[in-house]
Symmetry: C2
Subunit: 195 residues, 2 copies
DNA sequence: CAGAAAAGTTAACTCGGTTAATGTTTTGAC
DNA sequence: GTCAAAACATTAACCGAGTTAACTTTTCTG
């Protein structure tokens, strides 16, 4: 069932991903070539590109896997979409989910720093966000109102998590920031509720 | 004053831009190489890159020149920022300003189509939009509330113009769509006003 | 175990973008 | 007008991302 073939594929995939992120964190995205990564994972360059379509994907596939989450949260819930997303975000804060920006693990911070300081990566993340927004608009039913609502919801989440990350890089601990982060989230989603 | 040197530079710049857009519209962005453009403008490849930092900029420098408009509109106005931007957008609709999406000139439509159908270009446009949003947040005074407001305002404009463009590509004329476009704009900005 | 199918390798290529060495023009001072 | 110094262009070579083709190895199937 889980044949040797599939296991090896998984192994190669993981070896590439791990080698890439390690090298990126140590030397920076632009200073590492895909040839370096392929060599570190003992694989040829064409093989690398069979596993990851672009160099960016080597750094971002974990984020890419979260695609469509907002739409999923909304369709899975029976309550008001705004409340559902607010609760989901607040819950993410409690769990210190990296996507909320409220995680001060050094590796996580370094990873975010890598993404935000590398234009090529920031850009690609934005593509995922845009796709998320389109999916959310669709999940809400489409039309002008829902497109606007989706845009509001996604950018609210973006602003909140970016603020958290900025505060953490300022030296505050996640535990210290937690209460403020929850308050800001409730305020931000609150203004979308009364509308 | 306007020395020969500067005049020649302007000429080369225009020749490159024109050749590029012509070729892109005819063959598509990915099917035209920068070498083709350089050849069409009778210039070497390194020279081309002294005038335009990237291939994308050859297609987008006209849009890039509009950067920071939202922030400028707000700082130039004495009234409420939301009203100022709404009025500016509605005025753009009346003028059939391409940035509102309400312009059915075939070349303009083709140009938009080129941008939206070319991931590399769409992505770069989004970078401009994001910068616009940051500048607007700054112009509004910064802080959570203003960051959220800026995000709302920018995405409102994005949603509105995209809807207009979609309608136009469906075959409607700009003149026919005009009334609806104004109504949608007033509705969309309206929900940001009453708070 | 035989052989089809999947995956990997090597080598060479395209294209965007850069660099260094080497001319040419334009300019401005005399 | 002459001429040296900027400024700008060209050629040729290079780098790195991503692709392609021909060929070999590994795994699955019967």
């Amino acid at each position: 069932m889980a044949g040797l073939r599939d296991r090896k594929k998984q192994q190669t995939h993981d070896a590439l991903s791990q080698a890439a992120i390690e090298l990126f964190l140590e030397h920076g995205f632009d200073e590492v070539s895909v040839a370096d990564i392929a060599a570190a994972a003992d694989v040829s360059k064409p093989t690398l590109f069979k596993y990851f379509a672009t160099k960016q994907d080597l750094a971002l596939h974990r984020i890419a896997d979260h695609a469509g989450e907002a739409a999923r949260v909304v369709t899975a819930s029976t309550t008001d979409p705004v409340e559902a997303l607010r609760d989901h975000f607040v819950d993410g804060l409690k769990q210190r989910d990296p996507v909320t920006g409220l995680n001060d693990n050094p590796t996580v911070l370094a990873y975010y720093r890598l993404i935000l300081h590398t234009p090529a990566l920031a850009t690609r993340v934005h593509q995922f966000v845009a796709a998320d927004q389109a999916a959310l608009a669709e999940a809400l039913g489409g039309g002008l109102t829902n497109e606007l609502a989706a845009a509001d919801l996604i950018s609210t989440q973006q602003v909140l998590s970016r603020r958290n990350w900025v505060a953490l890089t300022g030296g505050i601990t996640a535990d210290t920031l937690y209460r403020t982060a929850v308050a800001e989230a409730k305020q931000a989603y609150g203004r979308l509720l009364r509308r």
